[in-house]
């Protein structure tokens, strides 16, 4: 019997929502990691029982948690309770929350600086993990996109983390700058057909691609236009909110930018706008139907200064033409007095025969559609503000 598991990260803990393939009735478990911010949780495609969680706090910093039994029990990978707390040689094993930026091999000093809010240069300072992306082929390999923006990789199941410094070191780092939410690397997409090709996105630097497994990177922002930049077509500095791809067409990328919905058909080398008839092309989430690579979903938000749906109507917009032509999906969603936001990692799709779509709001609702967006209903209504939503399709 197939089923789905929806992994929900919130401002005050995590929740797991489970259902069978019909997706009519849901079991809600949680809160997990109560009181902590869970920016993201995601399961391994290789071993769905292995789930990684980014747990963070303004007081206590970053913690990585891992479950190997589908979310029933959790440990910090480097320090399972009950096991010796030191490794060979007596060294403490508390590595799972240790994210240390690389230094320059030549100088031994921190690798590069970035632009601060006042235009001065500022050293990189680790804040938190925004996004966790498990490998498609190895359950022990997992990537972490962090603030201040960098990409880390673990090859031992989240026990220890090493930066892929080629991203910050490729030269444009001093031009990157924090957005309102901080300078975060929030999107990590691994090409399903080529694990050496990875796309990432940073607010506010833009999108980048590696074709050699993370050694070298290049900005892929040609075609983006950002009027808040002195040079609106600059190589970097764009506030990309989210990128999505369909696994059957990894060269086609869809982007929700600060403003503008964009599309690339050459793996990000060039982009063109597909905002079309959207009521607002500002927003955070974007995702692709599990079985229809030209069917995409966004949730328009009024503006960068007003982070709520236009006219107080919560509407998912669907395009079946890969952009430009959009239809509003409203059945089951509040169509008056709704002033929530849907954050960048808070939409996901399942891969059941009839594609299910899920999104969470800052008002604590998690909405689900089991008919590709035609109709919606809330699984839960009153969680803390939802930061992220991921879905596991279980067989």
């Amino acid at each position: 019997m197939s089923g789905v598991r929806v992994l929900v990260g919130t401002h005050k803990g995590a929740f797991i929502l489970s259902s069978d393939g019909k997706r009519d009735e849901w079991e809600v478990s949680g809160p997990l990691f109560t009181g902590w911010e869970v920016y993201h949780m995601k399961g391994s495609p290789v071993d769905p029982n292995r789930i990684f969680v980014s747990q963070s706090s303004g007081w206590f910093g970053q913690v990585i948690q891992r479950s190997d039994d589908g979310g029933k029990t959790w440990t910090q990978p480097g320090t399972p309770p009950g096991e010796p707390t030191t490794g060979p040689g007596g060294m403490p094993k508390g590595e799972s929350n240790k994210f240390v930026y690389d230094s320059s091999a030549e100088t031994g000093k921190p690798l590069t600086t970035h632009q601060w809010y006042d235009g001065s240069q500022h050293p990189w300072e680790f804040k938190r993990v925004w996004h966790i992306e498990p490998s498609h082929s190895d359950p022990n390999t997992v990537f972490a996109g962090v603030e201040d923006a960098a990409l880390f990789r673990s090859t031992d199941g989240g026990t220890s983390w090493r930066e892929l410094p080629g991203l910050r070191g490729h030269g444009t780092g001093p031009k990157w700058q924090p957005g309102a939410g901080g300078m975060c690397l929030h999107t990590v997409l691994i090409d399903p057909a080529n694990p050496n090709r990875i796309f990432i996105a940073i607010s506010a630097a833009g999108a980048f691609r590696t074709d050699d497994g993370g050694k070298t990177w290049k900005p892929i922002n040609k075609g983006l236009y950002s009027k808040y930049l002195p040079d609106p077509t600059a190589e970097v500095g764009h506030c990309v909110h989210r990128i999505a791809l369909h696994r059957s067409r990894p060269n086609t990328l869809f982007m929700q930018k600060h403003w503008d919905v964009m599309r690339s058909d050459d793996a990000g080398d060039t982009w063109h706008e597909v905002s079309g008839n959207l009521p607002s092309d500002f927003g955070f989430v974007i995702d692709v139907h599990a079985h229809e690579p030209e069917t995409i979903f966004v949730v328009p938000i009024k503006s960068d200064g007003e982070h709520f749906p236009p006219e107080g109507k919560l509407r998912v917009y669907r395009s079946r033409t890969g952009g430009n032509e959009w239809e509003a999906l409203t059945k089951g969603l509040p169509q008056r007095d709704c002033y929530v936001n849907v954050l960048r990692d808070a939409m996901a799709v399942d891969s059941l025969e009839k594609c299910g779509i899920y999104f969470g709001t800052t008002g604590g609702q998690v909405y689900a559609s089991s008919d590709a967006g035609d109709s919606w209903s809330p699984i839960v209504r009153d969680l803390p503000a939802v930061l992220s939503v991921e879905v596991q399709t279980l067989s």
């Binding site: 109560t34 009181g35 902590w36 706090s57 303004g58 007081w59 206590f60 910093g61 970053q62 913690v63 910090q76 480097g78 320090t79 309770p81 707390t85 030191t86 403490p92 094993k93 508390g94 799972s96 929350n97 240790k98 240390v100």
Partner: protein, 98 residues
């Protein structure tokens, strides 16, 4: 034994009750006590002070014998009452945010 009272979130991470006890060899200071806590509970590394800089996290405070020791030197000897175990060190999360 040195007694340390942890804030609730760190107790949950370390799977301990309100108060923990650690042994410190040599002078009892903020640094030696935190070293002992992190050695005994490595899951707390990075949560009280930064992994690399060893700087206290800004929203944490250290209270000792009714005094705020947050801004004392990390190598300043703590009172005898802490060293002999009659008073705990309180690690407190600042009242901030929601």
């Amino acid at each position: 034994m040195i007694r340390v009272e942890l804030p609730p979130h760190l107790r949950a991470l370390a799977h301990v009750e309100k108060e923990v006890q650690v042994e410190v060899v040599g002078p009892v200071t903020q640094r030696s006590v935190l070293d002992a806590i992190e050695a005994r509970y490595p899951m707390l590394q990075g949560t009280i002070r930064d992994h690399v800089t060893q700087q206290r996290r800004p929203f944490l405070r250290f209270f000792v014998c009714g005094e705020d020791w947050t801004h004392h030197s990390p190598d300043a000897p703590m009172p005898d009452a802490v060293a002999n175990g009659s008073e705990p060190i309180l690690i407190v999360g600042a009242i901030a945010g929601g």
